[in-house]
Symmetry: C2
Subunit: 362 residues, 2 copies
């Protein structure tokens, strides 16, 4: 591969980051803010880091419109650890939660909740449709669940909720990892939102939890590293936080503000994914299997139906700098992830390539 | 502060890293190994990352002499999460562990084990001595514990075990965070070793667990993010690992090999800490409170006994580029952390400064 080729990285996460953020990280080495130390070497109990974490929290509040009665917490361990933490902190009344089975990550959430003794009722599933649709909540009039868990965007299957289910009096918990900050939701509709940073918020190793105050502090003697109330009281620094990942997130958040915030990101993501979906829907070779109403703005799976051709395509794409379009191993085919940092030009180049590939492989 | 002053960062962690590692990280931006992507953006399911994680594991094995029947695992969440994980995975027979109370982090380990229902017997404590000595294990002939937990180096109190306690048939679990790779221990004497990366292995957000094969896989239905057996089977990639922190650790490990390995690091750490302890023991102003036999090679607390003078000293030290020598808030006074990446010249400069300060403040 010619290293002078412009690279577009369509990986599902860890994923492409804004060029200006990468450049800033490079510029901040070896000395951050004239300190003589890099961010990797500064104490989390320092004024330098206080500035970093406080800015990141405030910028998240501004960008997402997080109400004052919600905490913004920084954890480690990905949403997989939050699939343990959320039921242990929140499922303290009925010890039972509801779940919409929209794919791989919803199923993981079910499994982890059950491992810690929480009962899980799957109220709807689209497994029989190979998750090409979203499960629909019929009604939830009986409030016998501590919360309903949904995956707002399904990274592997390429579906996303554009409207949130009406849960009535039941709290809504959203795993928002793969469209966090890329699609607008009303935070007030959630009791808790969780999101890994490695899609739209920088590097792997940081997980955001946004949770309403009245839901936490009800369970005593939790392991400290999953205790929401403790993390709220300690400003997410009960022990050493992932300093560099929080700094990186902070840079991404400042970039997001400069770019126009989440509404502008959603507009761009609709434009980018629209370009690709339009091409796929008009193609004779490619198919986008997800039904239109359920389509994700950030993760676009597509297939030829011929695995050997898929393999050839993925290799040829890499040769021209279109990287990581291989589909998840559980689904096969291709997948293009179009997170906030993916420019429109990258999607244009991808569509142009797919178009030529189709002509050459009729 | 003049930014041209040479900076020495004595922080207890996150801590100073080797200059050559920081330079390599900078050089690897924005494109790692001619990939067109930075390490922050590469998939953990890529050949590029496979090389990084496999090298890091092998280099750890080489440097520490880890026997083949031990796993090397990468976790998130610090040792605080391992204080939960170790009892849940290992304390499955007697549901009771023994512990030597050598200070803050031993007490944390006790607390977290008890939170998950494990009984903890503190067999010896030096709390009454303000932890200026190490607790001595009388004898452990009765094997009624799943393991004995020790903190090999006490970051806050400045003590370290140079000889490991004889636990007989009882397994030994060591929290080695602050002298991991800085002092030699026989890994075969441990059933499990845990260590946070942010002292001697790079950046915060990565925790190493080294555990003997026969101790894991005995408990079913653990939360996945603390399941040693699952992490062993998934090469520490059940979900997205902290890619950049593992890459950084890998660079530090290669630097350690070039420098001569752990025996050479211990020699240098003895030399560095010896220089400082000798000065302190001969000073009329300063006192090193820890008894000689128990002194840490990597964390050196010292006091004047006059809090106002301490404050003045810490500020004056920072003015000449000797950063972060303030003691932990629970202890007060000063502390110099002399991890592997701290050069001898830094300690010379510190001793020279302390010597002048003493002459000016008799």
């Amino acid at each position: 591969m010619n290293v002078m080729t412009t690279i577009y990285n369509f990986a599902a996460g860890p994923a492409t980051m804004p060029d200006s953020v990468i450049n800033q990280i490079k510029e901040d080495l070896p000395s951050y803010a004239n300190s003589g130390m890099s961010v990797m070497e500064i104490s989390h109990r320092s004024a330098l880091f206080d500035g970093i974490i406080d800015d990141a929290k405030q910028d998240l509040r501004d960008l997402l419109g997080i109400p004052d009665n919600y905490q913004v917490l920084f954890f480690q361990g990905g949403c997989t650890l939050q699939f343990t933490a959320a039921p242990l902190n929140l499922a303290n009344n009925y010890h039972r939660i509801a779940l919409l089975d929209s794919g791989h990550w919803a199923d993981r959430a079910r499994d982890e909740a059950q491992r810690v003794g929480t009962k899980v009722d799957v109220l709807a599933s689209t497994k029989a449709d190979h998750y090409t649709k979203l499960p629909v909540l019929k009604s939830l009039t009986q409030n016998t669940y501590d919360y309903l868990h949904i995956t707002t965007n399904n990274t592997i299957e390429g579906t996303a909720y554009s409207e949130l289910p009406d849960t009535g009096a039941t709290e809504l918990v959203g795993d928002m990892s793969s469209n966090f900050l890329g699609q607008q939701y009303d935070m007030k509709k959630f009791g808790l939102v969780m999101a890994g940073a490695q899609k739209n918020l920088g590097i792997a190793g940081l997980t955001i939890v946004i949770v309403r105050n009245d839901l936490i502090g009800k369970v005593k003697n939790l392991p400290s590293m999953i205790d929401y109330d403790l993390f709220a009281k300690k400003n997410s620094m009960f022990n050493t936080p992932p300093v560099f990942a929080i700094y990186t997130a902070g840079l991404v958040l400042k970039w997001l503000k400069e770019q126009g915030g989440v509404s502008e990101m959603e507009r761009r993501n609709r434009q980018k994914s629209g370009l690709l979906y339009d091409f796929l829907d008009n193609s004779q070779l490619f198919t986008a299997p997800v039904e239109k109403a359920a389509r994700s703005l950030t993760n676009v799976p597509f297939i030829t139906g011929q695995p050997e051709l898929d393999t050839k395509l993925i290799a040829q794409a890499a040769d021209v700098g279109l990287l990581n379009i291989k589909g998840h191993r559980s689904v096969g085919g291709m997948r293009a992830s179009l997170y906030n940092a993916m420019p429109y030009a990258g999607v244009e180049k991808l569509v142009d390539f797919l178009n030529k590939f189709e002509k050459n492989n009729r």
